[in-house]
Each structure stands twice: as structure tokens, then as C-alpha cells.
């Protein structure tokens, strides 16, 4: 992946949030932005997403990453987030997971702490 794009971590975080927002809008939920990294996405009673929404969120996020940076990541497969028990729990962990996947593709600049988000 020598020609891999080099998105800043803040851009990736924004991309994750945008995809999440789109799914939440379908459900008729429009949370105030920015959602904090600690936002629970799934696994508890107050989680933002149900299992179907999580599937749609992953699919949307894969497309968005492809559209914006031409990066093909597989969030559903064994190499993706599904294997990690904690990765999908909060917005922060999923963002870190995506950053990790992009880093594996050789292309993220900055660190998670530079995302500039709460």
C-alpha cells in the first residue's frame, strides 16, 4: 500500500461520527454534536445502536472510508473489529479500531489524542 492515503486521525474520527449520525437519523435520533468518545454504541441498555443498526453502521463506514480515501477495510471480517470484544463498545474504541486498521494499511497521520474531540 505504498500509495495509501494519509488521512489525519481527526478526519477519520469525523468520518466515523458522520456515518454514525446518518444511521441515527434513520432511527429518528439526532443527538447533539459532538458525541463524546465514551458514547456507548452497543452492549448496554442505553446503547445508541441495536444489532441491525450496528450492521448498517459498519456497512456505511466501510463505504465512507472507501469513498473518501479509497481504503478498503473489512469491519465484518476476522481481521476487523468483530474479533475484538471491546472494539465496538464505544465511539472511542471503534474510532481507535478504524485508526488501527488504516494504520495497518500504512496511512494515518497523527495520533488518537490529536482527534481534538471530547
Amino acid at each position: 500500500m505504498s500509495n495509501a492515503p494519509n488521512p489525519a486521525s481527526a478526519e477519520v474520527a469525523e468520518c466515523v461520527r458522520r456515518s454514525l449520525h446518518q444511521i441515527l437519523e434513520v432511527k429518528g435520533r439526532r443527538p447533539a454534536f459532538p458525541l463524546p468518545d465514551s458514547t456507548v454504541l452497543i452492549g448496554t441498555s442505553d446503547a445508541l445502536l441495536d444489532s441491525l443498526s450496528l450492521v448498517m453502521f459498519f456497512a456505511e463506514l466501510e463505504q465512507e472510508l472507501q469513498r473518501r480515501w479509497g481504503v478498503s477495510v473489512d469491519l465484518f471480517a476476522g481481521t476487523g473489529l468483530e474479533d475484538n470484544d471491546n472494539a465496538a463498545e464505544t465511539l472511542g474504541t471503534i474510532t481507535d479500531g478504524i485508526l488501527g486498521l488504516l494504520s495497518d494499511h500504512g496511512g494515518v497521520s497523527g495520533t488518537a489524542t490529536e482527534r481534538g474531540l471530547p
Binding site: 444511521i23 434513520v26 448498517m56 463505504q63 465484518f76
Partner: protein, 583 residues
Amino acid sequence: MNVERISCGILADFNAEPLVDLLRNDGLYPGIEASLAPPGHVLQALIELRERRWRQHPDLVVVWTRPETISCFRSLLHFEPVASEVLLEQVDQFADLLIAASTHVGCLLMVTWSLPWYRRGLGLLSMRGEFGWAHNLARMNLRLAERVHRNPKVYLLDSAHWLSRVGAEANNPKLWYQGKMAFSLEVLQEASAEIKAAVCGLAGLSRKLILLDLDDTLWGGIVGEDGWQNLRLGGHDPFGEAFVEFQEALQALTRTGVLLGIVSKNDEATALAAIDNHPEMVLRRDDFAGWRINWRDKAANIVDLVSELHLGLGSVVFLDDNPAERSRVREALPEVLVPEWPANQMLYTQALLEMRVFDRPAVTGEDQTRVKTYASDRERRSLQRSFQSVTEWQAALGLVVEAAILGESNLLRATQLLNKTNQMNLKTRRLTQSEFLEWSRQPGHAVFVFRVSDRFADYGLTGLASLQEAETCAQIADFLLSCRVLGYGVESAILHFLVEQARRRGRKELIAEYKRTERNAACLSFFDTVSGFRRDGDTFRWDAPDRCALPEHITLRLCGVSPCAPQHLEAAHGLAAASSLSE
């Protein structure tokens, strides 16, 4: 169908839960509360609906299945040989089930069958008869369409259009295996928007009038500065070609009943000279229902023109290349739809054609010739100016009103009129074709339709009235007249007709109960000015023994309507066929 409170059932053989959410939450009008039958139980749900076993009868049912619903097609996907007639027989059975189920709902929308884009069908083989997936899929959809073609309650929605718009992201195997979603969110968003457009079309809420700017909207360049000879229109010029195609698309819309008008800041004579003389103009003067070409504020001009055309602002779309003008009209007239318009003129046609505000369930003869009636209206007004008095002018028009009973041949147009008329409308009832038919068949109900013509034009079926009989009186259930024939005395002729029917039927009273809306003040005003009515609040009573005069300048013809009321009422209940309605 009341679009504000539509109940909707969705039957799908995949997980359509996000579609339910979108119908409620996507922000498009109208919001629809839908419920979802358990996935995979489509046939069972349709049978239960046919047998009236649903707890509620929804206004709308959307059926969306994969083509594998037809078991023969499932075999085809495994390249097992299938006899064509057996495949189509299964489609027929499915179509019959849809039709039978539809009798217990307001309307049924069936989404056409499609395959995921990656199912190529082995390329060369795909359009071959025996094993071809694309070939047989097209035949199945066509057969389904032919089967439901004449049914007033079942309509097909073309999913191929949605899929091509979304592209390769339309189908995602991961969504299928993880969530049993056969289509991506983007496809479901398209579906939701199309379902809502269909609902608006069925309810008669489609937009009726496109008001156009001229310079850099209908043609390229500034006519007042460049002269009409130098406009970019046609020729060997990509932008010129794009403007011609845009005009052709607008003209095509007029053949479905949409009207065109001009609102432009220009010198009128200069602009009209371009319209009349430019050899590449597709749209000529007669293609426009009216225009306001001057230097006044465009919002004021729109109000003025819409009023002249007897339409409401809610029926208008305004297209202008200038963002400042768009912003001004949007702010001043929020009812007018002002879409964002592409900066690149080669995208105008696309922007027009992808709008979802002109949907309609059918195109009637009146729709196809509507624009001509506005052109003849201009001639009529011109004639009016040559007469000293209104009476002389009206006499010179040679108005003929033909009354007929609601029948199969006029049901479509009558329902359209019922659902679209706002101003001269006593009750503003909104009913689907089948609901209207059902109502007209009930004992004591009679529906009459009225065609209007004069020396300039045949306006077609432009009036409708219905009676509901009680023991001693007759109630006017509907009294409505298209705005195109308002002000010629036709409303008085219809009232004369209804009074005569009530008298001959032996009713002592004819009652009109006015139901107020935001837009039907014209109707109240008419009933208020007819001497002979006793008004009590919004109820008007006519003592039926008294006659109601027919305006002298109108000839009333009865087509298949016997002056003897009992006979015509019987005929109305039986819904006399078109052939029996001849004079």
C-alpha cells in the same frame, strides 16, 4: 386518502425495518407510520389480507419481495430448465393474490423484482430465453405490470431506477448475511422517497405549474443584451444542445398535465420575440399557460400569475438560475417549491427529470390538452375586451355543459378532479378511485360529472357533483368545479341541475353543507350569492319546489342522464358503462 395520517403495512421477504424508520424519519413529506409484517411471510400476509383477517385495513400496503418469491425463478438461478409458461403462470398467481388483497386496502404498491448487480447471469446467457436471468426477470416484471395494469388500486414501483441511482453500493452481501437486508440503506432511502412521491401523486398533491426564468434558465445568454439571434440554444454547442433538451423535457411534462409559465425580469416584447422567432426554440408561446415578463419583484409576479391561472401557490415549482432570486422567492413564498438549481447548464434536464413532485397515477385526455385550454383562455379574454358587457361576452362564448353519470370511462378523471380541486369545492373530500367508486355504489348516492366546452375549447370533464338522499331531503355530498371554468356561470348550471334532480325525486329540500378549508372561500362566496338559498351558519338550504334558473348563456345537455330522477339514480348505482352514456 388522508396523507396526514396514512397507515401503511410493509410486506417484504427481507429485513425492511430500516424502511419503516425512513418512512417515519427521513424528513420528507408526508411522514408515514408503517408497520412491518414478519419477514418471509409475504404470501401468508397477502392471503390473510385477502381474507380480511388483518386487524386493521391500512391505507397503503407496500409489497417488496426478491424474485425468488417465484419458485420457478429460484430454479432458474440454479440454471435448472424452467418452462416459460409455468414461470409466467406463477407470476399470474402472485399478481392475482395482490389484486385480491388490494380490495381491502386503499392502495397497494408492489416494488418490481430485481437482482443484485453482481448476479451477471453469465453475460451472453443472461438475455437468452431458457436460462437467462435478466431475460426472465424482465418478462416477470412485464407480466406483473400487464396483469395489474387496469387495476385502480395496484401500482408498481420501478426498483431498477433506485438501484441504478445508487450503483454498486445498492446490494451488499455483508448486509444480507449479517442482517438479512437485501438492499443497502441508500436504496431504502430512494424507496422511501419514491413511496412518498407515489402517495402524494395518488392523493392529487403533485405540483401542477412550473414557473421559469428565461435568461440562462430556458436559454443561454441575456436576450436583452445579446439579442435573440445570439442566444445559446441548439446548434453545435454543448450548452445550446442542453437547453434544447431541457425545453423538450419541459414540453414532455406538459403532455402529462403540468403547466408552464414564465416569470422573468426582461422586456416583454424582446423576450416574446425570442420565443416566437428563434428557430431552435422548442417551447413556443402556446406552450405557456401564462407569463409575467417585466421588472417587478418575482415573488409578486408569481402571486399575480398563479392567481390568474386559478391555482394555489402550493402547486408551483419555480426554476431560476439566479440564487438570489431563488432565495427571495423561497423566503417570500414558502409554499412554492424552489429547488436548488445546478450551476452547470448541462445538468438542468437531469435536475428536472429527477424531481419527484410531478408523480401521478394516470394521464387523462384532459391532462394532455390542458395547456391548450390556457392558450384558448387568452383568446377568450381577448374577445371579452371587444364586448361592451359581460353578458354579451358570455353569450358569444357559446358555453355548453354536458351532464353525465359517473361511469367507468370517466371514473379516472372524476377522481383526479375530486382530489385536485381546491377552490370551488364544497367539502374537499379526498378519495381514491376505488373508495369513490364504492361510495357511488351505495344506495341513495349518485355522482354526476360535467363536461364543459365553448367556441374556443373543449375543457373536458371539469365539474362534479354528487347527491346523498335522505327521507325528505337531498344533501350535496360534492360540488366542485375546475378553476379553468370558474367565472363563466357553469357553477350555476350545475346547481340548476342538482335542484332539478332533487325536485323530480320529490325531495323537499336540497342541502349544501360547506366545509371550510384554507382554500375554498370561492365556494362559500358562490353559495352566498345565489338568491334562493337560506343560510344557517355554513349550511345552505334550498326549498326544492322552487326552481333554480339555468343561466341563459349556457346550454345544458343530459348525456345518459334521464331528467326523471329515479331512473338516473338507479343508473348511477349501477355505474352505467360509457357506451350507455351517449346522448
